[in-house]
């Protein structure tokens, strides 16, 4: 069976001639339907660039991304990108409800009454019932990222790409949002690609963790996370298996040269 989301030998370099700088080199990852894969790597390793290529926002220098057998060259309709910078990603001239309705307006599939009902449903799902008429800049950071999540869900995507989605919120909110996304992921059977530099987050959330090396980034390792689901905010993190997986990944991050195995 071919992978649902196939990232095939993606290379990205900037500049030309002797000044050429490579960000990514031959990155290949196969992601199955409804799988949650985390991309882990040191900061500045080109994780965001990688995710933007997967999203079709920037073209790769070589290699390709295939979603359900079709090559991605522009942002596909059923793939949604959740940005780290929620303050810039939400539209300040729109209310919370209007932000969440934006993807449906673009798809022009539903009547206005239906759009409203569905938006309220997604807002309730992320715990923002009653906030629909406020503006994003009237909400706290964690609530804003919840709005962004609700908006992503409103697009009814099959693939959710998350670019360090919780790194700009406080530690407690981060734990809440991680569990929230896991809940939604399980309920909607989404395929999720999560970029993060947080080892705990990767292990807690993912089915598999792909480790990128420093620039030019190659896939250094892929680790199966065989923790049982549903995962518990505290219980899972305190389990021996969690700690040993976390230890292994941290070790690879901190002592990269000993572990590089090339592409997987």
């Amino acid at each position: 069976m071919t992978a649902f989301l196939k990232i095939d030998a993606v290379t990205k370099s900037y500049g030309a001639g002797p000044a050429v700088r490579s960000a990514l080199r031959d990155v290949s990852i196969d992601i199955q339907r409804s799988e949650l894969v985390a991309i882990l790597g040191p900061s500045g390793c080109g994780k965001s660039t990688f995710l933007q290529i997967v999203a079709g926002l920037i073209p790769p220098t070589s290699g390709q991304v295939m979603l359900d057998g079709k090559q991605v060259s522009a942002p596909p309709r059923d793939m949604v990108y959740l940005f780290q910078q929620y303050t810039k990603s939400l539209f300040p001239w729109r209310t919370v409800l209007q932000n969440v309705a934006f993807p449906m307006e673009m798809q022009r599939t539903a009547s206005q009454r239906l759009v409203r009902a569905r938006c309220l449903e997604y807002l309730a799902m992320v715990g923002l019932g009653g906030c629909e008429d406020q503006y994003p800049w009237q909400l706290s950071g964690g609530m804003q990222q919840r709005v962004a999540i609700a908006r992503a869900l409103a697009a009814e995507p099959r693939v959710l790409l998350m670019d360090e989605p919780f790194s700009a919120v406080d530690a407690l909110t981060r734990l809440e949002l991680q569990s929230l996304v896991l809940d939604i992921w399980a309920r909607q059977r989404l395929t999720v690609l999560l970029v993060t530099h947080d080892v705990d987050e990767a292990v807690f959330m993912a089915d598999r963790v792909a480790m990128l090396s420093a620039r030019p980034s190659v896939v250094a390792s892929i680790t199966d996370i065989d923790l049982p689901r549903p995962r518990d905010t505290m219980g899972t993190r305190e389990s021996a298996r969690f700690l040993s997986l976390r230890h292994g990944l941290l070790d690879t991050l901190l002592h990269p040269t000993a572990h590089v195995v090339g592409n997987v």
Binding site: P75, R77, Y81, K88, F91, W93, P103, W137
Partner: protein, 252 residues
């Protein structure tokens, strides 16, 4: 209420002090009251103008010309600014031309415009539009170019591209900058409409002020200047009011 009062009070006090000094200077002949009548005299003349209804026609004429010219400037300035801000090719094509025309003081263009458009409304609307156009254009270009990459990419991932992207994302996102340009443009438009009226001699508040001075109706001249100042203040207040409601996220 109390806070608003304490904020406004010092400014109001200095205003009153200036009025009192002006009044006394006229009464005790420190300045020639024929050339600069005291505020009480100007005030009563002003009241006569307001009460007789003579206010409406010239004021209406001046501000109608201002608004038509200003609306045209907004329309063309924002539209061209959007196109130039979004297209490198068109920007490269037009930018040198605009940089050449922009620094010309628009007042200098009134005499040549007389030649082509005469002394009527068309000329005045044109000069107002020209004066207000450039600041609006430049601000729009800057606003469009400054729209955050993340906002654009967000829209793109939801399938919002092309014209929809420009109208639904780029335009509202640049609105704070555009409003700044529109405010500068409104001020310039008011200056130019008054100047054009003075030079054209075809009615309006600008013409009246000059005409009163020539016929030595000094009190009336000052009264009309006060009317103009008050009207300018009023449209600025309206602008600020509308701006705060149209761009509530600006303060954030």
């Amino acid at each position: 209420m109390y806070r608003a009062a304490t904020r406004l009070l010092p400014g109001l006090a200095s205003f009153v002090v200036v009025l009192v000094i002006w009044e006394l200077a006229g009464r005790y002949r420190y300045v020639n009251p024929v050339l600069l009548p005291p505020p009480s005299v100007i005030g009563s003349t002003l009241w006569e103008i307001v009460r007789s209804g003579a206010l409406l026609e010239p004021l209406g004429q001046t501000f109608l010309l201002l608004f038509v010219g200003y609306a045209l400037a907004c329309l063309f300035g924002i539209a061209l600014g959007l196109v130039m801000g979004r297209s490198e090719v068109i920007y490269g094509l037009l930018e040198p031309l605009i940089e050449l025309l922009r620094p010309i003081p628009k007042a200098a263009l009134v005499p040549p415009l007389f030649l082509f458009l005469g002394f009527g409304a068309t000329m005045k609307i044109t000069i107002v539009a020209l004066a207000a156009f450039f600041p609006i254009l430049i601000a729009t270009i800057q606003g469009v170019r400054g729209v955050d990459r993340v906002a654009i990419d967000t829209a793109r991932t939801f399938g919002c591209t092309g014209l929809a992207l420009n109208l639904r994302i780029i335009l509202p996102a640049s609105l704070p900058m555009i409003a700044t340009g529109m405010r500068v443009g409104l001020g310039l438009g008011l200056i130019l409409v008054v100047l054009a009226e003075m030079l054209a001699g075809d009615g309006g508040v600008g013409y009246l002020i000059l005409d009163m001075q020539r016929s030595f109706a000094v009190r009336q001249m000052y009264a009309w200047i006060v009317i103009l100042a008050a009207a300018g203040l009023a449209i600025n207040a309206i602008f600020v009011f509308v701006e705060a409601r149209a761009i509530p996220w600006r303060a954030k």
